[in-house]
Symmetry: C2
Subunit: 339 residues, 2 copies
Amino acid sequence: MVKALGRGVFQMEHSVSIASYAAVAGKKEGDGPMGKCFDRVEEDSHFGQKTWEQAESRMQQETIYHALEKASVKPDDIDVILAGDLINQCTSSTYSLRPFGVPFLGLFGACSTMAEGIITGSLILSSGAGKRCVAATSSHFSTAERQFRFPLSYGGQRPPTAQWTCTASGAVVLDTETKNAPKITGACIGKITDLGVTDANNMGAAMAPAAADTLTRWFKATGTSPENYDAIVTGDLGKIGGKLLLELIMKQGYEINPCYHDCGAMMFDADTQDTHAGGSGCGCGGSLLCGHFLPLVKSGKIKRMLFMATGALMSPMLVQQGESIPSIAHIVEIVSGKE
Amino acid sequence: MVKALGRGVFQMEHSVSIASYAAVAGKKEGDGPMGKCFDRVEEDSHFGQKTWEQAESRMQQETIYHALEKASVKPDDIDVILAGDLINQCTSSTYSLRPFGVPFLGLFGACSTMAEGIITGSLILSSGAGKRCVAATSSHFSTAERQFRFPLSYGGQRPPTAQWTCTASGAVVLDTETKNAPKITGACIGKITDLGVTDANNMGAAMAPAAADTLTRWFKATGTSPENYDAIVTGDLGKIGGKLLLELIMKQGYEINPCYHDCGAMMFDADTQDTHAGGSGCGCGGSLLCGHFLPLVKSGKIKRMLFMATGALMSPMLVQQGESIPSIAHIVEIVSGKE
């Protein structure tokens, strides 16, 4: 069972364990400063497949297999898989999951999917409906770029606010029994926030207000403050959105700078990798949560952290119709099992 | 808490109440045999908006407001909204929900979304994370047709197996306390099933095997049989898919014909409305569950039913790439509060 602290904010009475986690990434991500944290870096951006869409599905599938293997479980041991991605009709997930034969709940939270999956999975386990679930997500530069912006071969110029969609995937196995594992102890489900940003090349600015809103709701409902955390990590606000979050949350009276990290800003070396404001995509936060942060939590180097994945809930069509970009941010609180 | 009977199959120990339900539909649906069951039929297919996408969002929003009003609650009384739709990046839902200011979890289950939302919402309430939630979905002929098939003005000919995407929306308010209301007593989360159908104009055939699989899993795990139900209702298999389900489930030893209904087959008069194999879309099953079946459950005319919404989890791009259509079906068991 969980204890509601407010609308969409709750703490687990019996914590959920992150039994295992895995991350797979593409070559550019592997060449970046975080390159060594992934379970596998694939040099072939097609992942041995014919199309980019198949490549992304394959990457997500591999990531889930890695996570299952690290937890010493098989697909038949999983009660439900929660997954989603950026691609129309979430096909990177639905095609990825065909071989598993596991009950499936599809999510759409754009780049917030990793947090949304962990939250929903944790609540399902807390309800007693299952003992073990998987939450997974992925993004691929080549599927996202042609869907959201321009055909790759067009070679469109990117403004400095643009981010680079990561070719990366993250997956966790959650259960109710694994000892000495990172624990999920609480969460905050985000509200849709739209302050009127219409520039699809400045997603960080669109998402930062959602992040500030969710983080403020979390601090207030739980009575915590930034000092209680070794790390507060956003998924892909990038350098511009991250800076904006620091300003917005400061206005609410919270100084998070000392423990703040953004996976989008961490993923690439902007000077040498031409990635402008940083990495983005469901797989950006997903892969660095699973590849970098969860190992630090497991080893006890991080004792308590917030993972907040943000999502821009727009489509190219709605932006073309002149609509602004609704955004969302979900928080998961993760503590070291050693605590 | 809920009691797991198997992977993805469970019964509620404390049933979740469907405190209210609402359905809004377009003119063609209003002109059909089910036209009188909706809370409102809108003659203007643009719902007063400039674009089809805005029209669908508006319809979904209205449906949720109707449901909230019927439960005598306000958005601030809702702990979480679960919603999704067919449109790329689920924008019909994300734009619909901007004004509510309610914690939001986005779903993608294609036409299975109504069942997926009810299941996920019921589990969240059962976990203790909230007291009241909303599950909603929608579809619109004009948004879906141009996205999945051809531009409307192209006037493409439709094969006899084709279905007509309904302009319709359904929403329920779920809580843990309302008396004399239909109750959710169990559910079965579907597995992705793909028997190799590649014809995007024959979705019923693609989805029927998923429906047969989920229904078989439900009967076996719960020890029930078709005789235990006054109604077994699918969302949008249509006439062809529905017939196929009857055959497939008969092979498993279950004769469901006497209590079987398909919302897609019910929605239109195919002879006079030129809708071929029947209605389809998230809003098809969603609106008839909320407009037709739940009132029958509430009045006690239906004592126990299964609502099984099916979804084809493909995208036009993947079908163009030659991929077959993965499908899913989720079951919700609903009983009369009078029982």
